[in-house]
């Protein structure tokens, strides 16, 4: 089966007059299989939006190619564009002066749907699914942020593209609206077989939504795995140490690599154990420092910790030859690392 998205040695360098060229994306290789929900994670400026825009043909790559269902975005623009719908980050994406219905018809035609009958049927279905049918005649500018985002997503889907790109789909949405959008994304992939690629800073959302994630940093791919595998990889090494009362920052320094937080008046240290610091050491050090230990337990890792960890490591190894390397002994081999 053909990959839905195939990215080959994709790079983008933005040239600036001042000579500070920005390498937003660097030799990216990636495939996304049909029907997957794929998450792009990474800090601000990691190159997620740039990657998506190159997939949409809005930004021309410096090198490399993007294929959408086999069509080269650079060379076969027309058919490639029929494969995607996109909602881009931080902008309206639709006309606020028009109502939801008018927007959907307009964008449907722009995207090459020629049958008005088909277009209207789809628009109605989308608006009903998103609970916007009753308000289809109101200008989108008067909608709440969540409703506006739903209209933008509906507009991206109006031509029924097999691939949907969503750049921070839940940005600025409240819990309820965010949940609606998420449920809908799952439905799109699971029930209608669409390939969904999204970027997000909400890692809990990525964890619950994405079949696969790619973690980017400075234009490079740090990891590209299924979400489950990535979580497994980190499972055993994270521990949580719960201490009674508030422990000052200097004392928690005895646990290198652990982060401290407060929970119900207790101090919770979370971090990774390894060769330098075993679970036994943890307990010893806590006792020696006269801390009142409540519990030591393996923490279920979440994507957020893994993310922070990978980004930290990438920073530490930046500049070193060979780039990032995870400790092969402590971890099952095979994590895809790009240097």
């Amino acid at each position: 089966m053909k990959s839905a998205i195939e990215i080959r040695s994709l790079s983008k360098t933005f040239r600036s007059r001042g000579g500070n060229d920005v390498e937003a994306v660097s030799r990216l290789d990636l495939t996304v299989e049909p029907g997957q929900v794929f998450g792009f994670l990474g800090s601000n400026g990691a190159g997620k939006t740039t990657t998506l825009k190159m997939a949409c043909g809005l930004v021309m790559p410096t090198t490399g190619t993007v294929r959408l269902n086999g069509y080269d975005v650079g060379r076969q623009r027309g058919p490639a564009m029929r494969q995607i719908g996109a909602v881009l980050e931080g902008t309206r994406n639709v006309y606020w002066r028009m109502n939801a219905w008018q927007n959907l018809l307009y964008f449907g035609r722009i995207k090459g749907v020629s049958s008005t009958k088909l277009l209207k049927a789809r628009a109605e279905r989308l608006l009903r699914e998103l609970d916007l049918w009753e308000r289809r005649k109101d200008p989108v500018g008067e909608f709440s942020r969540g409703m506006q985002q739903k209209v933008a997503i509906a507009a991206a889907l109006i031509a029924d593209p097999p691939i949907v790109l969503l750049d921070e789909p839940a940005l600025g949405l409240d819990v309820q609206a965010s949940r609606t959008v998420q449920e809908w994304i799952i439905q799109l992939a699971k029930e209608r077989g669409k390939t969904v690629v999204l970027t997000t800073h909400q890692l809990d959302m990525a964890e619950s939504l994405c079949d696969r994630v790619a973690i980017m940093s400075h234009g490079r791919l740090l990891a590209h795995r299924s979400t489950g595998e990535l979580l497994d990889l980190f499972r055993r090494e994270f521990y949580q140490v719960r201490l009674r009362g508030v422990v000052e920052a200097e004392k928690t320094g005895a646990f290198p690599g652990f982060t401290a937080s407060r929970e119900n008046g207790h101090t919770v240290l979370a971090g990774e154990v390894g060769e330098e610091l075993s679970v036994f050491d943890l307990v010893e050090r806590a006792r020696a420092a006269g801390m009142d230990l409540i519990s030591v337990s393996p923490a279920e890792p979440n994507l957020e910790e893994i993310f922070v960890e990978l980004i930290e490591r990438a920073k530490e190894t930046a500049g070193q030859d060979g780039g990032l390397e995870l400790d092969a002994g402590a971890r099952p081999a095979g994590i895809e690392i790009r240097g």
Binding site: T50, V59, G78, L88, T91, V94, Q102, R109, I110
Partner: protein, 262 residues
């Protein structure tokens, strides 16, 4: 052909809907445009404008309005749509962007024509101005408009790359009112200014249009005296240069990621 028709209708529909949502502003603007004409006519004629004097002025003025509409549509419109992200959505269409932009231009022409008919009609009735409808005027008018849109594309392409062009285009359209010969005769300007004024969009078109429509000259005679030739050349240059600059702007914008907000 069917696709082109759909695109055109689609753009017209969108424009009308959006315009309708701004109907109050549009009414005010229409009123202001009409009022401005009366004001300037009074001023230029020393307080005693006659319908005969105002006819050529109105012809020029209405053409200027087409210019304003076309130029601001392209530069301001594009500027706004890069910010709202709708331009990026347009560029994600499988249809060629040239077709979509042509559709937009025709839609904008359609709307500006409606406004010109409205404003012109009211002014003619109210002030007793007579502008005869002469079939010879049609090709001259068409050449003028095509040249104007060529220039608009030029500005649009430049706006994609240089955001400041938008501000410049406002200045330019206002300047145009006094340089395209609507009210102030180009012949009476100092030599250097005349040359500049004549190279601007619409100046030559207005000149030929007046001679054909108001002075009853035949197309053959304006061709022979060179003014129609000059208009044709002028239009062709603006059209090709404009289209070229637009394509260039698109390419640069894709390279630098300027089709959207950054």
């Amino acid at each position: 052909m069917v696709v082109a028709g759909t695109v055109l209708l689609n753009e017209c529909q969108k424009r009308l809907i959006i315009m309708w949502s701004y109907r109050f502003n549009f009414m005010l603007e229409t009123f202001m445009i009409g009022f401005l004409f009366v004001g300037i006519s009074f001023f230029v004629s020393g307080g005693r404008p006659t319908p005969e004097q105002m006819a050529p002025a109105l012809l020029g003025y209405l053409t200027w309005f087409f210019a304003v509409f076309a130029i601001s549509d392209m530069s301001q419109g594009i500027r706004e749509e890069t910010q709202t992200g709708t331009l990026e959505q347009m560029y994600m269409s499988p249809l060629p962007s040239g077709l979509l932009l042509a559709g937009r231009s025709v839609a904008s022409l359609f709307i500006s024509s409606a406004m010109v008919i409205l404003i012109g009609g009211i002014l003619m009735l109210a002030l007793g101005i007579r502008i005869p409808v002469r079939i010879e005027g049609v090709p001259v008018f068409a050449l003028t408009i095509v040249g104007l849109y060529g220039f608009a594309f030029f500005m649009g392409g430049a706006t994609l790359v240089f955001k400041q062009v938008n501000a410049l285009s406002n200045l330019l359209t206002n300047m145009l009112l006094f340089l395209n010969g609507s009210f102030l005769t180009v012949e009476r300007m100092p030599g250097w200014l005349e040359g500049f004024a004549r190279s601007l969009p619409s100046t030559q078109g207005i000149d030929v249009l007046r001679r054909v429509v108001l002075d009853d000259l035949s197309l053959a005679s304006v061709w022979q005296d060179g003014s129609l030739v000059w208009l044709t050349v002028h239009t062709a240059v603006f059209l090709f240069a404009g289209w070229g600059v637009f394509l260039w702007g698109e390419r640069v914008a894709r390279r630098r990621g300027l089709l959207g907000q950054y």
